[in-house]
């Protein structure tokens, strides 16, 4: 990338950083009604969100599309392995749709209902959503998926689903695992300086995912230590494969927490449930991303951090919309987004 492009991107990134809604601000917004929330969010982000309280899926789509448009601005100047890495990273949004589709079809949910749960990704969409929805049975849909860009992920997921007693939760986990392994592999093709900086923020993200899945596999599903370890991405920052192998052999959640390296042991020492751990770990990985974003780290790692933070912002706002739409109490929504911990 030329010096000019790099300077241009740094400037664009700085403007985007100023438009991120920080978590504390988001939490204070929960107490207001949706109109006021989106008035404030529009003011902070500079995006003119059009709220239609009768159809909130439109605002959810707007949130995702605006984020994808901003990502596009940041990544289009890249070429080669960086470009491929970023385009793959933002496939995460489509993976959410993929999981909704597979879950929906296997659970025999009505097409109209599945469609409601999908997010319109506009020009970023690779999946032939309409055709997939029109399939008559889940296996027909899987066969169709096996000729898309997600063929590899889908094949793995199908195998696990069929061999592990048709468990949709494991199917989701396999899809996530395949995605993160591929993302990690693509990161290894970046130039060494970028890869080193990226390892910090990506490692923290993978630590979070690996630890939570390890706890679920071992203590919710009762899988063996070896199989639990195998199903992890096993390439983290503090939790590398040796650490994960050691943790997989533990017999209780408490033992695992006690054996965790710092800062995770300190962070999780007062936490009791896996869902609380999920929240704490997520905030930790986002704070690492935030530190990277505001540091002199490489442009690639800062943009990746921005993508993580923006994705979290979209997710939090979607959770608030859902909560408000269902008429939940503000405290319940705060709990759902983890603000009550």
């Amino acid at each position: 990338m030329s010096h000019f492009s790099s300077t241009y991107l740094s400037t664009r990134l700085s403007t985007f950083i100023n438009r991120l809604v920080n978590f504390e601000r988001l939490v204070t917004l929960i107490d207001f009604d949706l109109d006021r929330i989106f008035l404030d969010v529009s003011e902070i982000t500079g995006h003119d969100y059009q709220l239609d309280t009768t159809n909130t899926s439109r605002i959810e789509t707007q949130l995702v599309n605006r984020a994808l448009d901003d990502f596009q601005i940041l990544i289009r100047s890249f070429s080669g392995s960086e470009r491929r890495f970023f385009y793959f990273a933002i496939r995460w949004f489509e993976l959410v749709n993929l999981k909704v589709l597979i879950r929906g079809k296997f659970s025999s949910i009505d097409n109209a209902e599945i469609h409601k749960r999908l997010v319109d990704l506009g020009s970023f969409a690779d999946l032939p959503i309409k055709k997939l929805l029109e399939t008559d049975d889940p296996y027909e849909m899987l066969r169709m998926l096996e000729i898309t860009a997600y063929a590899g992920i889908v094949r793995q997921a199908r195998r696990v689903y069929e061999e592990q007693g048709n468990d949709l939760f494991l199917l989701d986990a396999t899809i996530d695992r395949s995605f993160f392994i591929d993302l990690y592999r693509r990161a290894s093709f970046l130039n060494p300086a970028d890869a080193d900086h990226l390892a910090v923020v990506m490692g923290s993200l993978l630590d979070r995912i690996n630890l939570l899945w390890l706890l679920r596999y071992r203590f919710s599903y009762g899988l063996s230590a070896a199989k639990s370890f195998y199903l992890l991405t096993a390439v983290g920052n503090k939790l590398n494969s040796v650490e994960l192998m050691r943790l997989a052999k533990m017999d209780s959640i408490e033992e695992v927490i006690a054996a965790l390296p710092n800062p995770y042991q300190k962070l999780l020492s007062k936490v009791e449930t896996v869902s609380e751990m999920e929240t704490v770990m997520e905030y930790h990985s986002l704070s690492v991303a935030s530190d990277t974003l505001n540091s002199n780290s490489s442009l690639v790692s800062r943009i990746f951090s921005y993508i993580l933070l923006r994705e979290a912002e979209v997710r939090f706002l979607q959770a608030i919309i859902k909560g408000k739409q269902l008429g939940f109490d503000s405290n319940l929504i705060k709990q759902a987004v983890g603000a009550a911990i």
Partner: protein, 627 residues
């Protein structure tokens, strides 16, 4: 020379719902109505009576499409039944196709599994080949001991290292003995105590075990034969499944054929799902029809509909022009040029269809730029030769060839030779300046005609202010005329007095004033916009005119290329000379011919169409029976 789209009328048909489907069939057979969706959210007619029908039709159509893609039989219907298709009939067929698709899909799933099994057998067979050189009794691998378990098989390359680490947690070892095609051929061994955990782990890692049959007790080569049998069995199963699928489809061919016919008949009514609105047994259908067909429509409906109906035809109001579809007048000769015009955009309802003008100017410019009797003749013959395969392309080619021949006589050029035929006017090389002046005059005339057409289009669509005051309107026309006159005076060293200056400035002031009134920005931005727009108008007129210099430039280029070919040929012996002349001429016809064709198109699109042609019309898409 030019025409406008065929006049339209808006039709509003009110009928009882029992006649709705028949009316759709009647109108589809006549191919005269462009259905119009109600955009006023008519509260009185709140129901969409064709919506349930469309829903079943859509499902049936999808299923038919899926099944038909597996069928080797065609579905040809040249005549369609005019019988009305009922919702119950559609539902019944949909149920039949649902069951049929479930069977086809099931066979497809089995085929997928068999193909995967075949793939695995081939991989394992490869794996086994690595053992054939060893004198090893493989039945020992089947006889698992009390203390030791051994698994032989394959694992995907990407899963190997993670599996290796995971196995170390179970005190098992994994050893790869061969690697290829994205898989590792491995042996896994360890203590019998944890073999269940290990088996579950291996499954997750997509480990495919080499299964040794119970009756087997021999060397690797014997097992290889056994695997070949397995492979043959799977291949046979695949063949059987394919045959089963073919038989199933053949057996159901009559049903599929019936569905195909029903879908054709049901389509007109189904496609009106968002158009037909009704309430309490009353249904309304709106659309646009060619104005001249109103009485024929009324007569046909009177003949076909069972119950009384009311139909009214109204001419479109000026504010509806944007919604009226454009049906262009058909002409066999102009069809290929119409295609090129609609490639740029569809003429608006009241806009001029420039196909005729486009055809004439395109053909003339091509001839001017590529004037050669011989080259034109080759293009003409080539186009006639290809007529059956590419009719539209051939018509354009033949006319361009004729034009080239005509200008060939004007320039006195045949296959680049300028001495054989006497020029009716002159060769471009003899007076290039004169030719350049002719090109400028041609360009100026072209732009003036484009300007007049723009004025005509503005007036026809009620945009009177634009017609009089804008840069594309009369003010722009007079400014351009004055500018041409000014240019002529300057180049001929004649005086350019205050009166001429006034004629130049006055229309420009009108254009700027119009821009000023159109802009609603702040003072500074308004001044800036008006200044830039004015400047842009002057520059576009100058550049547009000069753009036509390429007409002369390419005719000179044509001669220059021929001269280059002859110069090279002159350096050769007799055979080389004629070979160079022939190849050189082919090169000129193919390469320069293509460039000239593209340049003509560019002049038409960018210098012509962009000045008067909006191209934002909607194509007339009638409801019709589609086979």
């Amino acid at each position: 020379m030019w025409s406008t789209p065929i006049p339209m009328k808006k039709v509003s048909l009110y009928m009882v719902d029992a006649d709705a489907q028949q009316s759709a069939m009647t109108l589809a057979q006549m191919s005269v109505i462009h259905p119009l969706e109600n955009q006023d959210n008519n509260q009185l007619l709140e129901n969409y009576p064709a919506a349930p029908f469309f829903s079943v039709y859509h499902r049936l159509n999808l299923r038919f499409g899926k099944i038909a893609s597996f069928s080797k039989q065609g579905f040809e219907h040249s005549v369609v039944s005019t019988d009305i298709v009922t919702l119950q009939q559609l539902q019944k067929l949909d149920e039949q196709l649902k069951r049929l698709w479930a069977q086809v899909s099931d066979i497809e799933e089995q085929l997928r599994r068999q193909n995967e099994a075949l793939h695995v057998i081939r991989q394992l067979s490869d794996s086994l080949q690595k053992f054939t050189a060893l004198d090893l009794d493989l039945s020992r691998l089947r006889r698992q001991g009390n203390f030791l378990r051994i698994f032989v098989g394959t694992v995907p390359l990407g899963n190997f290292s993670q599996l290796k680490r995971a196995l170390s947690l179970t005190h098992y070892m994994i050893k790869s003995f061969y690697s290829g095609e994205g898989i590792q051929h491995v042996v896994v061994f360890g203590s019998s105590q944890q073999h269940e955990d290990v088996q579950a782990l291996l499954k997750s890692a997509d480990f495919r075990a080499l299964k040794i049959p119970d009756e087997f007790s021999g060397s690797p080569s014997e097992l290889q034969a056994n695997m070949q049998q397995q492979q043959a069995r799977v291949v046979e199963t695949i063949g059987e499944l394919k045959q089963k699928q073919t038989d199933l489809l053949l057996e159901n061919q009559p049903v599929l054929s019936e569905v195909h016919e029903v879908l054709i008949s049901a389509r007109p009514y189904a496609s009106l799902a968002t158009v037909l609105q009704g309430r309490g047994g009353l249904v309304s259908l709106r659309g646009w029809v060619p104005a001249h067909s109103d009485q024929a429509i009324k007569r046909q409906l009177e003949k076909d509909l069972e119950f009384p109906f009311h139909v009214e035809f109204t001419a479109p109001e000026i504010d509806e022009f944007d919604d009226v579809p454009s049906l262009l007048k058909k002409s066999w000769l102009l069809k290929p040029f119409q295609n090129l015009v609609t490639n740029f955009g569809i003429p608006g309802y009241k806009e001029v269809d420039p196909s005729g003008l486009f055809a004439l100017s395109y053909i003339l410019m091509f001839g001017m730029m590529f004037g050669d009797i011989g080259h034109g003749g080759v293009i003409l013959l080539g186009s006639l030769f290809l007529y059956k395969r590419f009719p539209p392309f051939s018509i354009v080619g033949a006319l361009a060839g004729l034009s080239s021949i005509f200008f060939g006589f004007i320039y006195g050029s045949i296959f680049g030779y300028e001495e054989i035929v006497h020029a009716l006017w002159m060769s471009p090389m003899h007076d290039p300046v004169k030719l350049l002046l002719v090109a400028v005059v041609w360009g100026a005339s072209f732009l003036l005609i484009a300007n007049l057409l723009a004025i005509r289009n503005f007036l026809a669509t009620g945009l009177y202010q634009q017609a009089f005051y804008s840069g594309k309107g009369m003010a722009g026309f007079f400014f351009y005329l004055a500018a041409l006159y000014a240019g002529y005076q300057v180049f001929t060293n004649q005086p350019f007095g205050w009166l001429e200056s006034l004629f130049l400035m006055a229309p420009m002031m009108v254009i700027l004033h119009f821009q000023w009134r159109q802009s609603s920005a702040g003072l500074f931005e308004r001044v800036l916009v008006v200044f830039i727009e004015g400047l842009e108008h002057i520059i576009s007129n100058v550049s547009g005119t000069l753009s036509f210099l390429r007409v002369a430039a390419f005719s000179l280029n044509h001669i220059a290329l021929a001269a280059a070919v002859f110069s090279i040929a002159a350096m050769m012996d007799v055979v080389g000379h004629w070979l160079t002349v022939v190849l050189g001429n082919i090169f000129i016809i193919v390469l320069e011919g293509a460039i000239v064709a593209i340049q003509c198109l560019r002049l038409e699109y960018y210098e012509g169409f962009s000045r008067f042609f909006g191209g934002k019309g909607k194509a007339f898409e009638p409801l019709k029976i589609e086979f």
